[in-house]
């Protein structure tokens, strides 16, 4: 299809879509008006029923916990798919770039860059751990904190070089944390079955509202999700980095 024909087709389709979308959006309740009674009930009930202060966490990991289980598996599947897509193919090989001018040393990164990388990466690790562990109290949780934790590795790479960052991300450990995190969610779900309740029910002691350890299974699930997401995003970073750094076409 030529670009012109494609654009014409898009214009017709977009006009039809705009009309139906407009009609659909016009039928929504007015912006900023009432929220659903389900949401009102949850806002009222969740802090008392689950001893958490962040209702979003209670919904994600408790009331709709099974959704999050599948969401976690989507992430695991995507990471596995990317690992397969970006593997060294049959005509490719892994090798570090060779120094073609060994008489001239590569200048080391400036101390300011190095210091900034050390400072920022430790700050990111700290913020990540804080976000993962306080998911029941304040906005945050396993998904958000996991991404922050993984981004520390990007900062280490920016401040140093490929060889250094490889030491920070041993592939077996990352892959293990991805798998352990995903299966940990199922194990915590099975606790409910062991206690005679249904899968993923909140059977652990709820604790005192406002304490870091409160909300029963919610902080535990936050923790395993944090491990999985941190591992998964670190794998993503290393897979894409490998493509530019070490994977090259084999010479014949």
């Amino acid at each position: 299809m030529s670009r012109r024909a494609r654009l014409l087709l898009f214009t017709a389709a977009a006009a039809a879509l705009a009309v139906t979308l407009g009609a659909g959006l016009a039928g929504l309740p007015s912006f900023g008006g009432q929220i659903t009674s389900y949401a009102r009930i949850l806002n009222e009930l969740a802090p008392r029923q689950r001893h958490v202060t962040d209702v979003v966490s209670a919904i994600t990991f408790d009331y709709r916990g099974i959704d999050t289980l599948f969401e976690e598996f989507i992430l695991l599947g995507a990471v596995a798919g990317i690992s397969v897509l970006l593997r060294p193919l049959s005509d490719e090989t892994r090798q570090l770039p060779r120094d073609k001018a060994p008489d001239r040393a590569i200048p080391p990164p400036s101390p300011a860059v190095w210091l900034l990388a050390v400072f920022l990466s430790s700050l990111l690790v700290l913020t990540g751990l804080e976000t993962v562990t306080h998911g029941t109290l304040t906005p945050g949780g396993g998904f958000q904190g996991g991404v922050i934790l993984a981004s520390a590795i990007y900062v280490v790479f920016l401040g140093t070089n490929y060889v250094t960052v490889e030491r920070f991300q041993p592939a077996p450990l990352l892959e293990a944390s991805d798998g352990v995190g995903a299966s940990g969610y199922v194990v915590i779900g099975l606790l409910g079955l062991l206690a005679g309740a249904s899968f993923l029910s909140n059977v652990v002691g709820l604790g005192v509202t406002g304490n870091p350890i409160s909300g029963g299974t919610i902080p535990l699930l936050n923790l395993v999700v944090g491990v999985e997401v941190a591992g998964g995003f670190a794998i993503l970073a290393s897979e894409f980095l490998d493509q530019t750094a070490v994977i090259r076409t084999r010479r014949r």
Binding site: R6, L21, G32, G33, I35, A46, P47, V55, A58, I82
Partner: protein, 115 residues
């Protein structure tokens, strides 16, 4: 106000799809898809908004009085963001391999290499 709020959603979605349709570069295409996808995030949060409402976090109650916004929509937006990130990463990995095989990222040029 409603018109403006929901208009942004429709506009973002259409402009993202327009970018996908007319894209000349697969990476640009993936970014355009993310723009279209972000319309759903905004729609979810807007449905859950309540005028003058605060976040559904009840950590220091005297600090925020008044109603809270819909926490269900925020949880759904979180799911949306995670799935969006997974899709974007997968598509970018595909783009890397396409560039290696075909030597180009232009979707139109890809069709020519097949013929």
């Amino acid at each position: 106000m409603s018109v403006l709020a929901y208009g942004v959603v429709a506009w973002l979605f259409l402009v993202g799809i327009y970018g996908v349709v007319t894209s000349r570069n697969l990476i640009h295409l993936v970014v355009c898809l993310s723009v279209a996808q972000s319309a759903t995030d905004i729609l979810l949060l807007e449905i859950g908004y309540r005028a003058g409402g605060h976040a559904p976090v009840f950590v220091s109650l005297p600090a925020h009085l008044g109603p809270a916004v819909d926490p269900v929509m925020q949880a759904l937006a979180l799911t949306d963001v995670v799935v969006g990130a997974a899709v974007t990463a997968l598509l970018l990995a595909l783009a890397v391999q396409v560039h290696k095989r075909a030597g180009t990222l232009d979707p139109d040029a890809l069709r020519a290499t097949r013929e």
